[in-house]
Symmetry: C2
Subunit: 150 residues, 2 copies
């Protein structure tokens, strides 16, 4: 189920927060967007609708689980979810907590940056990431259906 | 369940393709991105994770249903799905069929445009939209759970 040359088949793609059988969650270091996570499906699947219905539900339940943890720990002004894959067509979901002061708000994370972020603001969020990520891992380990082998 | 001043509470937000009890699907006219649809949740809900689990599944099943119709009718190079809502925090999903020649590929629909689209390419896709949209409406009307009243 791996595709030669695919960066998400050949490496983790970021700092691993949770590694399961069917998917992993990684933290992506993005300047100005201090809480940018990705859920990467383990198998090399191109489109969300390529997943069987039960896997779609597992995948989106996991995305919602990460979203809930981000909301609880960081109190963001908005959550952004997206699966694009135009450059890397291996199913992954971007899960991004947004703040009014972040580099792109109210634009999308893929739009042009609108400002430089004050280091104190970025550091304030970064200090909250270790307990957030422990919570994400615990929630995903407890997610129904997550232990099923492929 | 309406929020005063919210454009997605006060108007359809685009050309209606499907209108159900819980959500509608609209076509958005975006120059250079000829197959740009949105699924708009009927109730004024801010975040995807604000939905009850059964509604999350209904919502994402409907998104996947639109995605499958787009793939079948248009043979896009990639599908892009996103719920952002930074400007309009009323739950809506962007469902965008992407083509190598579209205005933004391989960038996100919210990144800077990379090219002007040839009118013939845009027109070729636009000619396929009426049967596509009839199929989307039929698939969504048949989606399990979709008729349940709120």
């Amino acid at each position: 189920m791996k595709s030669p040359g695919c960066p998400l088949c050949e490496g983790p793609g970021g700092a691993i927060v949770f590694q399961g059988d069917r998917f992993r969650v990684i933290r992506s270091a993005e300047a100005g967007l201090p809480a940018f996570y990705r859920l990467v499906w383990s198998a090399h699947v191109r489109e969300f609708s390529d997943l069987a219905p039960a896997d779609r539900h597992l995948c989106i339940d996991a995305v919602a689980c990460v979203e809930e943890a981000l909301r609880r720990h960081l109190d963001p002004v908005k959550l952004n979810l997206a699966t694009l894959g135009n450059a890397v067509p291996h199913l992954h979901w971007h899960i991004v907590a947004r703040f009014e002061w972040d580099s792109h708000f109210p634009g999308a994370p893929w739009a042009a940056a609108q400002r430089q972020v004050a280091p104190e603001a970025q550091a304030r969020i970064e200090a909250l990431l270790p307990p957030l990520e422990a919570d994400i891992a615990a929630r995903l380990a407890a997610l129904p259906g997550n232990r099923t082998a492929t």
